[in-house]
């Protein structure tokens, strides 16, 4: 078993990182900053799922992590195409 100090500390670090990325998502001067923050948030969520799987000893949520990685990638590329198309007009 991993001790609870490690689990709680790492989970808190991921939570603080999520809060900082959320601040950038709200504040971001351009749309590109917000998309970068969204991509980082999806990466952070994958990390939190992995830490939770280690803490609880259950592996059910790992499929959710795979799906989160896929959806984050497709969403970021779609937003990038939207930014690029919007600049043409």
């Amino acid at each position: 078993m991993i001790d609870s100090i490690t689990i709680n500390g790492v989970m808190t670090m991921f939570g603080i990182a999520l809060l900082l990325a959320l601040f950038r998502l709200i504040k971001g001067p351009s749309l590109s900053d917000r998309v970068v923050a969204l991509d980082f948030i999806s990466t952070c969520v994958i990390g939190m799922i992995v830490v939770d799987a280690i803490a609880s000893g259950e592996s059910y949520f790992l499929s959710v992590a795979i799906v989160a990685a896929l959806v984050g990638f497709v969403g970021s590329v779609a937003f990038a195409m939207y930014i690029q198309k919007g600049s043409d007009q």
């Binding site: 078993m1 991993i2 001790d3 490690t6 689990i7 500390g9 790492v10 670090m13 991921f14 603080i16 990182a17 999520l18 900082l20 990325a21 601040f23 950038r24 351009s30 749309l31 590109s32 900053d33 998309v35 970068v36 923050a37 991509d39 980082f40 990466t43 952070c44 994958i46 990390g47 992995v50 830490v51 799987a53 280690i54 592996s59 790992l62 499929s63 992590a65 795979i66 990685a69 896929l70 990638f73 970021s76 590329v77 937003f79 990038a80 195409m81 930014i83 690029q84 919007g86 600049s87």
Partner: protein
């Protein structure tokens, strides 16, 4: 022994993700922020996935962890490239400390050797 290794990898993952978030918040430019968020964040999550693969003995979970790590390794550079290209085309302003922009011929450093277009 494995437990200590897993705990150390988890701490590494947390510290790297926190550094990536601080860089995402503090860098002055969208391109520099992308540099922090894609590379350092990916390293952090891959470290936690390595801890997951070490902690469980089940081969199915290890395959899943390696699959997620491989997928992140493939997609993070693609996302960084596509987003920075879109931001460059959309005309997002760079920070003032950027020395020169190779895609902008007016601000390009004249000391650099110019590309011969007949060779390209």
């Amino acid at each position: 022994m494995t437990v200590y290794l897993v705990a150390a990898l988890l701490w590494v993952a947390g510290i790297f993700t926190l550094i990536a978030a601080i860089g995402l918040l503090r860098f002055p430019d969208v391109f520099l922020r992308m540099h922090a968020a894609t590379k350092v964040g990916t390293i952090g999550v891959i470290s936690s996935l390595l801890a997951l693969a070490l902690y469980f003995d089940d081969p199915a979970i290890r395959v899943r962890a390696v699959l997620i790590a491989l997928f992140l390794c493939i997609t993070a550079p693609i996302v960084g490239h596509v987003l920075s290209r879109a931001a460059l085309i959309a005309g997002v302003p760079m920070s003032k400390s950027t020395k020169f922009n190779e895609w902008d011929p007016e601000t390009m450093n004249p000391e650099l050797p110019k590309k011969d277009e007949s060779q390209t």
